[in-house]
């Protein structure tokens, strides 16, 4: 039985889990660092406890402190969300050892899937196809470089260097030719050491024109393992997904069946429990290869929820409680698309941006869902990941879902901080996106010299006029007063003066 869940995370995913707890009738505990004291997720828990310390290592990654708070405030389970400690087998073990329920798979499963080399070997043994590539075992810098050079000749160019314990595109480099190899190895290792404390990399063939297709699975303690169909997340910038959809536009019933079976095989190979995702690369000839398994809830889980009607986070809570999962035979209905809104400058190599969310006004309407951890008046700081929100739409067909996404993006207003909204909006008009023939290198191919917005002249004229009127009418008096108190509490009425000339 689980009655009180501590959510060891922050931001958008903490909000998602805390709301699911509330809907399930469970008590919840949020933990937060000092710089998150005013964040939305802190308001959504039954009880919120401040973490001591400044850095992420001292707060959200501080296993001892988190477990201590869980015991002290009477939690009986810990949900790790994604990122932070979600794929740390040692944390899962420490949670279990302290007598709490870990909402996720066993530490053994996390460990086997978390180390990409072990995962590859395990999958090969289980009969799941893997990408041609080689594991580099050498830890010494010079030996590793030599081993990578040798391996690169056998694997062939273009190739991909990946951090063994990596994720989220960190420590990952595309190498197109042998002369780029040494620089790429050094920089990938440096990034991997900084991010994961482990500089080991592996080398694999870069599959050109491939799709990124992943299968969502659920496994309960009664031994039932099901898959909830696929998500396609091919469109990525800097190896991070920005546009995700379900179902995959080119999927056939027969291929879904085969990929689903491979995903269940992968889950069985590690005695999986809870929600997980098995990622594949789907080549243009219909061959698919195991990429990795994410042993946690994923950022893009909502698109699967929209087309299956399954609340994956509630199922996680149910499974952790020892109950059988509630889903019966699944029917895939309609089409869902998610885009990730980042505070970043898409016209400048997707450089992260910071600033106030002076206006944050999301779209509404039928088939529109917003998962976010921020609200108007918040500050975007360099302390955490710059993802602001996930905008999700559902419609009966893919075409209508794309039309709905365009409308929703046009209606999404964020002022004060640069976002990728316009980039996402123009992405929806790209021929390959419209046709559903998306592939992992799409953004680089469509915009080889970087993206720049296309703005009609009449709108520029209109915007200048709006600036002129706003400045003339003194509409800025209130908004400016708020900006000056940057460190202080931010008034929710930051936007526009309520007084008029």
């Amino acid at each position: 039985m689980v009655s009180t869940v501590l959510v060891a995370n922050r931001g958008e995913i903490a909000c998602r889990i805390l709301r699911a707890c509330s809907e399930s009738g469970l008590s919840s505990i949020a933990i937060y660092a000092d710089n998150d004291a005013d964040s939305l997720f802190v308001e959504l828990a039954t009880k919120s406890v401040i973490l001591e310390g400044e850095s992420i290592a001292e707060t959200y990654l501080n296993q001892k402190q988190i477990i201590k708070i869980a015991k002290q405030y009477g939690a009986d389970a810990i949900h790790p969300g994604f990122g932070f400690l979600s794929e740390r087998a040692d944390f899962a073990q420490a949670v279990i050892d302290s007598g709490l329920k870990w909402i996720g798979p066993s530490p053994r499963a996390i460990k086997m899937m978390g180390d990409k080399m072990t995962a590859r070997t395990t999958m090969k043994a289980a009969g799941v196809p893997v990408i041609p590539g080689e594991e580099i075992e050498q830890e010494d810098e010079h030996e590793a470089l030599l081993a990578i050079k040798n391996a690169s000749h056998r694997v062939g160019f273009p190739l991909l260097l990946k951090a063994s314990s990596g994720g989220g595109g960190k420590g990952m480099r595309v190498v197109n030719s042998p002369d780029e190899l040494e620089d790429a190895v050094n920089s990938a290792r440096r990034e991997a050491i900084a991010a994961f404390g482990d500089g080991r990399v592996y080398v694999e063939r870069l599959l050109d024109g491939a799709k990124h297709v992943e299968i969502q699975i659920l496994a309960d303690q009664q031994g039932r393992i099901i898959h909830l169909g696929e998500r396609e997340c091919s469109v990525q910038r800097r190896h991070q997904k920005v546009f995700e959809e379900a179902p995959c536009p080119t999927m056939t019933e027969e291929l879904r069946e085969r990929m689903g079976r491979a995903a269940i095989l992968a889950a069985q190979a590690v005695d999986y429990e809870g929600a997980g995702t098995v990622e594949f690369l789907l080549a243009s000839n219909g061959e698919f290869f195991f990429l990795e398994m994410n042993t946690r809830i994923q950022v893009e889980h909502p698109v699967t929820e929209m087309i299956t009607g399954v609340d994956i986070v509630r199922e996680q809570l149910r499974i952790a409680s020892g109950e059988p999962m509630s889903c019966k035979d699944l029917i895939i209905r309609g089409h869902s698309i998610e885009v990730r809104l980042y505070a970043e400058d898409a016209s400048n190599n997707f450089l992260p941006a910071i600033g106030p969310l002076t206006v944050f006004s999301p779209p509404v309407g039928p088939g529109v869902r917003l998962d976010t951890g921020v609200r108007q008046g918040d500050q975007v700081t360099p302390n955490y990941d710059p993802m602001l929100a996930k905008l999700v739409v559902w419609a009966p067909s893919r075409k209508e879902a794309l039309q709905r996404m365009r409308r929703a993006l046009d209606d999404f207003i964020v002022l004060g901080t640069t976002t990728n909204i316009r980039f996402l909006r123009e992405l929806c008009d790209q021929e390959d996106v419209v046709n559903g023939s998306t592939y992992t290198t799409l953004i680089d191919r469509v915009w080889p010299d970087g993206w720049q917005p296309t703005i009609p002249d009449s709108l520029i004229e209109g915007a200048l006029m709006v600036a002129g009127i706003s400045e003339s009418s003194g509409m800025h008096r209130n908004s400016n007063a708020v900006i000056q108190s940057e460190d202080g509490p931010v008034s929710p009425f930051t936007t526009i003066s309520r007084r008029f000339p």
Partner: protein, 153 residues
Amino acid sequence: MMQHEFRLDGDTVEVTVARNGNDWHLSGNMASILPDGRIRLEMDNGRIYFAHSAKVGDTWWIHLAGHTFCIDCIEPGASEDANDGGLSAPMPGKVLQVLVKKGQSVEAGQALMILEAMKMEHRIVSSIEGIVSDIHFAEGDQVQQGVALLDIS
């Protein structure tokens, strides 16, 4: 008639709006401020838009028809800051590597420094050809957003 000087994408633009009661005019376009603070625009081509605006620092952020604009106000008498070869940090972060030495000549597009910000590596690239006249930070230093990292002359 109210005249303002703005900067949009590097260009300086002079905007003169005329007010007549609740209506504002600029050439053939008309606008009015709505009770909730939005601005209703009626363009001379007949299109109607509802715009949102908010000022942060000296910049007007404007949302209009799915586009977001950043329009800087130019204070009367303020000097233009031209590209003088100074390179500033795009984000708060840490200097990972300095790739050039003082006195070295560099080409436009050459990588000068590697910064780590938000757990990602960013290359600082020279926008002009010239000689590195000064380097303000060393490897391992923390830098704030906007500070000059190196000078190229």
